[in-house]
Symmetry: D3
Subunit: 338 residues, 6 copies
């Protein structure tokens, strides 16, 4: 927890701790995902050549800011452990992810009893990433959804001139008032709107369904201009087409689209490990296609995956789905290069 990181090279973010373990990565012909993603070597005297790095992974192990009890803080490590179940090759798309250089930076340093410190560190970690290697794509593994507000604010601080849009895949609006309980996982979108970081009209939420949002939140969405397409509507139009249109509308007006995937958007049968998993949610093939499309959209410049509690998971189904979301996104992303 309080372990010091006297790294010897020039990438000095004191806000980070290395991942607790690193996969053995000696040369193999066809790596699995855990053998392909590199771990930042903080003991090296030479920093990586960031110009060669396409994507950085950042763990954000915070879930004490969750309204309901959540062990989503365990998720970054659970995701890292599950990498070994996946190859780097997407057969259906004929894309080999090894064309990308991906580095795992480790986790944002957390504080046990001061959540505002955690949130500040998260924001600063994004600033640091944007400062030290602005050309890498940041892919964050939460943690609960409160982190999204901090990460986007960090982006905004690093790029104050940019107009930022949000593509949110979620069962919830996340538009609760911050007055009651501060920046919890029920509030990130409202937080971004009320802080002036993002305009309501620049938010697209896809996946809402059922009885999981108070009516007042919908009214707030209307007042603030937040765009949303329920799962039923999206299926009528086609989920893929819905995502494409939302991205297009955003791309027409914003500089940067931030993609945030709340794993509770999945149906409870495919995502039992989300703290608020519900029946009536998205299928995994729908979600994987949605994020792959987002991955191929050049305006999408950052992404997070949140609200995945590996302790609550069944048969590792949700953790594996989380890894698949990450890899499906990167499949789209790899296509940008070609």
């Amino acid at each position: 927890m309080g372990k010091e990181m006297n790294s010897s090279h020039n990438y000095p973010y004191p806000l980070l701790v290395p991942p607790p373990f690193r996969w053995d990565q000696r040369e193999v012909n066809e790596p699995k995902v855990h053998e392909w993603i590199e771990t930042l070597d903080v003991t090296s005297v030479v920093p990586p050549d960031w110009s060669q790095v396409d994507v950085t992974i950042l763990g954000v192990p915070l879930s004490r800011s969750s309204i309901s009890a959540s062990a989503a803080s365990e998720n970054p490590d659970a995701i890292r452990r599950a990498w070994k179940y996946f190859t780097t090759y997407n057969l259906e798309e004929d894309v080999d992810l090894t064309v990308l250089k991906v580095i795992d930076l480790g986790d944002v340093r957390q504080h046990v009893t001061d959540i505002s410190v955690c949130h500040r560190n998260i924001r600063e970690a994004m600033v640091a990433m944007r400062t030290h290697h602005p050309n890498t794509f940041p892919l964050m593994i939460g943690g609960d959804h409160s982190i999204t507000a901090m990460l986007v604010k960090g982006w905004k601080a690093a790029h104050p001139e940019e107009r930022i849009g949000i593509l949110q895949l979620d069962t919830h609006f996340d538009l609760r008032s911050l007055e009651d309980n501060g920046p919890s996982n029920g509030t990130p979108i409202r937080n971004l709107i009320e802080s002036g970081t993002v305009k309501g009209e620049d938010v697209f939420n896809i996946g809402l369904h059922g009885f999981f949002n108070a009516k007042s939140l919908k009214e707030y969405a209307h007042r603030s201009g937040v765009n949303y397409i329920t799962l039923k509507e999206a299926r009528k139009r086609g989920v893929a087409r819905t995502v494409e249109e939302a991205l297009q509308q955003l791309a027409d007006k914003v500089d940067t689209i931030y993609l945030t995937v709340d794993m509770d958007v999945l149906d409870i049968s495919v995502g039992p490990g989300a703290p608020a998993s519900t029946p009536g949610g998205m299928r995994s093939d729908e979600l994987f296609e949605a994020v792959q499309i987002a991955g191929s959209c050049p305006r999408v410049r950052a992404m997070d995956i949140v609200c995945l509690d590996p302790v609550k998971d069944v048969a590792q189904a949700t953790v594996k789905a989380g890894v698949h979301v990450m890899l499906s996104f990167l499949t789209g992303f790899a296509k940008r290069k070609s």
Copy 2:
């Protein structure tokens, strides 16, 4: 079990016991389902104004009449506990259930070793409801499927002039002979037909599939005129349209349609907590749409949800689906008012 209910007001059903617990329900702005559904206050000297009550919830915690081991008796409480995971607002339909006044009456009093007493109490509870507050909609939470025969017989006893139809969503016919083992959960529809309570032709079963019914039951269905549409057929036509047509055909000839939802109609991946859960069953979105349609049909005047064993459940998926079934139905029901 033997607790006496010296209620002080005029609603004297000795057949009922209050629910073992009641949710705290002081004033909130936007209630969750558990804060919205009221619990009958048996200690009050003033009974509720039943003319203002739209729906009564009745727990029927009987599963010792189940052929296979079942803890469906635990379901009424499990459902009550899971109300807290749901808001009253259906986003996709823009329906707020708080327009309905719903009261939880508690549970039908059960006997430990005399199932015929249990069954008589269940029948009498329905008679009592129809007598004391005939304008409320009774929504029963089972228990195993044997209770449906008793509830419909109670309705018939209270309304002997009515012709009653059944819309059954089930993986099974429930047409086994009563001669072998009495009114178990394998028999309710046959029980109703052979007792003259319901005509075979006034039964519609939607959702049958696979290898879960003996051939002789299908033959009995044919002989007795029971209508059934297998899941495969229903999907070809569209599940929604199939339900609408069944309701229409029933509405054309009966006075009252009784909706009975056997949770084992769901695929085992979305409903692992049904004692007889099977692969190849209905998706939850199909079921939710089906019951919402039924909810909006004015001729549907009573409903039950049965065969949900919360002890066998995984990740609370089936219990949450059970609550969703109830709320989806009420969404349709609320539309009747508008």
Copy 3:
């Protein structure tokens, strides 16, 4: 393990052990599956009249040849135990499986520490079946996928003149090199191709998806002519039509089609009990339809079901799906008789 089988009749395969238990099978009117499938009585002095037997079940309890830890060796018994949950009557197809005479032969005798002995026994068991009762359809319950190579080689040894095709439903190619680790569950198709048992062009793999195969395996598939249709492609064309076309193409050139169902082709939500279960896989209704179609194809003359680990299962969902696969196949098979 070392139990001797001094059977008194003329069916002398020393390679077999009876199943550890047999269901009570005295006369019933409408049997469940466990009351319908007979167990070979090795103590009888009179062998069965094989000309009257349609299908033989053979357990192949080997999974120590699996790359990852697997208790698929427990599957034959798990499948046998789960028979009791199923009737013999397929309601949707109006097919009663009791028109078929099915005998459970027991299990292939295994060796604890010499996998080559296990593999030889499996091959020889197929030869014995083809020799003693060549007109029965052999339905094998694995075990891991390494057994398929042995079973098909056994078929080839018994029918050297035949050209054999494979219809494989799988998330994986199973085309790994045998040089590294011998005939493991990653290699059966390559094993068959490289041994000259089956031509690459006579293999059809349906169901591949996601990030679960190395790119080099796809290249090997291309080089060796293996046909494959990913799940996404199959869904575009229709899974049923895809299967029909594959069977048609095979039937046009081969004498015998061997159907092999790797249960990990199913999505993790419906098949959590496959050792390598993944998100993004097939739905159970798709799989059931696919195997029923194969069952009705006269050229399909043997079948196996592999890679089902009942210890890893959740709510018995995968084991029940495994039984359903077997029964759906037999539904198609029964249609051949009519």
Copy 4:
């Protein structure tokens, strides 16, 4: 359920059904328990030579008479399946159980909805056993504790001249009034006392502890003369010595001691699969020693094991403990022969 048993030999109990499955039992040198215990062959024209049979096993799959939800009805089969984990040889006592001839008779036929029929069948099954093979020791596998009253009444009906004593190992008195809910699992001892079958003074209960009995039950115990030693007291004296003394006191006055083991006497850590498992209960080594001592006491002439719900079990710990209880008892029993 309704399967007829047209047995061809002279052991005509229509109250019995064979076990649903039988273990393969061809000759082995050193059998495991499942290979040693024989299953009654109801199709044989020759009945067994009962004079050579030491012990009969009888399943009593009734738990619909349980106050709380219980799947103890699944226990007889669970116990039978778990036999395979045990050898017949008790190393510590140097006793080989194969000196005993043990036959599994199958299960008492149950009725689904009329518990009084179930109870009558249970009673009559004991009468039948005492009539057809009075020299075999009956060992019953429940089921819930209500069956004990029926079994002892059956014994009394067969041996009206005998004075019967009870040694009960239980966390509960089982002295609830029958007036409220009939002969449930909370009442067997009171049932026996009030029916005059057993005198209160001839009952010894060992193992009571904690907060699991109402005070009025203790007062009833005092009034009726029931002897009890709490677990704390028993440990002070030594559990073995306590059991020996209780047996001695009983042996001095009764003709037959009936041993009844309620598995909820075990601590929840070693017996999580009892429906009412509690912390603070007996250790398994204490229980095994207690029943072995009872086994060696010639006056103990019948035994049952009740309240074991294999569905609620964890890691099969309780089912394995149940088998061990049975085998430990038989170890003592085998010593009677030497």
Copy 5:
């Protein structure tokens, strides 16, 4: 969360929220624990007569201050739900807890993202209790161990003149430095010492074992005079005697002994639901006896039970043990009255 409590009587603690549910408590002859413990009726215009109240229960649902992920925040409700498994009568001690009047006050109001507010509320709740009803015994149900520091500080604020001692049953010292991560669950004892609330010499820790404390914490214990007896030592002397001597030594010098029970003191086999459960810990009978002794010691004037995560529990073993700890303590407490 933000629900206002406009209680109409004079007990105005805005720091409290009622429990989310209340048990039905109409008159019964022999109540179970949930029928005996009353819930404070905040809607009543008349406050309870506090002079008649012996014990108040206070839920402290905070675990976001836990170092490792913990759902101990769910424990107060889990404990309340499990009351129904227990009678009020301790058979071994012949103590009926109904001689005590116990009121459940509900839970301390929590904040989602500001842990310092949570901690302040907890402290103030204790002050409020000591102010409004100083003669009732406060029994707190946590929550993680960080709450103990706040509760004892609250006591000290209400009784600044008192010297307070601590009897801690724990696998850990809880002496970590507050500098690193604030008042987490690793720090409460050090927090109390360094704040001058309690002297090191007035702390007795019983139950330490194994490899679960850093050496520096032991050294801190030595420096600060904290008394500790490892489990191995305690067993040598006798756990009961060890507790008695510790209480005696404390009683000789302090005014008030605060008993804090960290459920992780239990061995993992009996307490799997503690977030940090370990092998080699205390048996439940040892713990129950220890707290009963403490209950009977008049100088023990407050108590808490912490670090019980019901989501992590197995077979409800730990939750039931938690209730038993509470009842065993009250058994001792009830003896003070006689």
Copy 6:
């Protein structure tokens, strides 16, 4: 699996693969166990100074040689992951394990389908360790019990002049004949005796109990002179004293004592994760004390921990117990230095 290890320093064992992951181990003040145990850096050009290394850890991930299905092959990694739950400081013994230098060498390279290759590699790995760093203590983490025969044979090959004794803590004799099924996990001790590696009289087995060994194995033990003390006997004498005496008797005649701990010696409540876990076994405190005593005995010069299946585990109880066994042993070992 086939990953090549082109290590650059002089420790060339091609039989080893590095562990799949390594813990982050930058400088901390008080390390947890995972921060203290070093991982061999195979990429380093400089080998470790073996004269400074006290203990080497070697994973032996083989369980395909197990009679029953076992995922003990997953155990070395499970143990490594669970190190993080433990400090290096044994409070009760005041021993800090950091006085020892411990290096994790990684795992013995396995073959998927040729178990004889696996066994040969295991034997050769021991030879290599004894050759390259004969002064380090080898601590092996299995794997099933078949590995012990290979490891001891490796020792014998490296030290042909030595007389080797075995201290075995086990529920089983492991004296089955190798003729039936080769060197499975039921045979290691017989394997060692019949190969002349160890004399029967130099084997001490402590912990046998219940019905888990065939009588013929006991007879073999007698014939071959194997010493055994059942758990019941050991408890009469005192488990600690029993172990001490066995060590003393061995030390009087052999050069090297090899300690082998089969985790199934533990009772199923504390060790549910052993493939053959049973009721009636050892308590964890007994086992921890036994191995600590062995650790302090200078003649004990190698150790293994086998038959721990982390997939079958409950609440990680058995894996944590496995780590504790290792640390308790090292506590004794550390005392040798002082």
